[in-house]
Symmetry: D2
Subunit: 124 residues, 4 copies
């Protein structure tokens, strides 16, 4: 019986459409309000139908020297055709951090499971 964490998949988002793309400045200032965009399918679009869609995006921060990651936010995409409405897996959020660390973006496709990506952020 494998560990849950091993179920997260990753890869190069330019070739694998499920991998969350992380858009954030490489360097931010301590306590500055930082903007972060996470989206799925930037290079190769992912389906968005009732049968097959991205259900949520989550963002974590894992600070240098910290023992545990912190969950910044969780976004659930809830419309996949109902009454002609389609929610895109594309979100821009804002937050503040006090030190350098790693941003993790995770996502869930109702057919293809859990995916992750990460990016280093330097706080100056």
């Amino acid at each position: 019986m494998g560990k849950f964490g091993e179920l997260y998949q990753s890869g190069d988002w330019k070739g694998e459409k499920h991998v969350p793309v992380i858009h954030i400045k490489d360097k931010v200032k301590k306590g500055e309000i930082v903007e972060l965009r996470v989206n799925i399918g930037e290079e190769i679009p992912h389906p968005n139908t009732l049968e097959h869609h991205i259900k949520w995006l989550k963002v974590y921060f894992y600070g240098e020297g910290d023992k545990f990651p912190v969950e910044i936010g969780n976004y659930v995409m809830n419309s996949h055709g109902e009454y002609g409405v389609f929610t895109e897996p594309d979100i821009t959020i804002k937050f503040k951090v006090e030190k350098s660390g790693i941003i993790y973006a995770t996502s869930y496709c109702n057919i293809h499971g859990l995916w992750e990506n990460s990016k280093k952020v330097e706080v100056e």
Copy 2:
């Protein structure tokens, strides 16, 4: 025993810091990917502490002639000081609609309850 819906509060966001501010074009094209920003405290900042913070933002679409609203997305702000991380109540999402209707943005403050705002969107 009052109805649940009556617990939603509203007002002018320029004077009441809890009211979600809705930023979206007045006119969009059918099937176009539309950008929507919802934030709290644009004029008067809201506290963001463990003791007092905005916990989530939700967005609905209620199409002209439809009987029921559709939930577009739900964003939960999860960090309020843990390890120096603060999630801001400010989100930009994307979606598609096929006809004119009303956008509802709702929010929840852990101390001051439920809030709402709305804005008409015309699809041409």
Copy 3:
């Protein structure tokens, strides 16, 4: 442009399948861990398919003399046939309160919108 709260629908759960059914003792003790079951479709089952299902259940507590309701919990049902898995709109949660008040249960059907029900709880 109507108010958001007016979109919540209600009724008698014995005749209207969308109304959340609230199961809780009428009287609880202050600080006791209370069990609460909320389910949909107890008398008349609601569909559970990709096309038509209950997406979430939320529970609030509105204490006597309080100005604002508090959100106790939010449960999202995420499987509606994927790989043969179906999540039922039926949840039992636990919490503590310190005074009498009203429990509100709310739900969302992806086709028929927002629903609510309420039940008084007396703390002795």
Copy 4:
């Protein structure tokens, strides 16, 4: 830069208070509505305060022979003292599966990060 999945921690719930405890029958029938209880701190209670609490519980099913796990449900505990209300990290949910597989329960503590546990379920 480590992988996200490696941040999930586990252990014996009798000695480590963060590990989700999974209560489910060992054998269930195909298509039967199964009851699953997941709780935190059954042996050693976990704190439930604004400063330190369990924020959510998630449940997945990973069927034998399937390539990907399915998310059954997500429960967010939202009250940690506001107006005297405390949501317990203890939930009972219901679902149906069609074949044997593994149940994964995951949780998030706002101070001690991500945790997981798993249990095999045989469908007869």
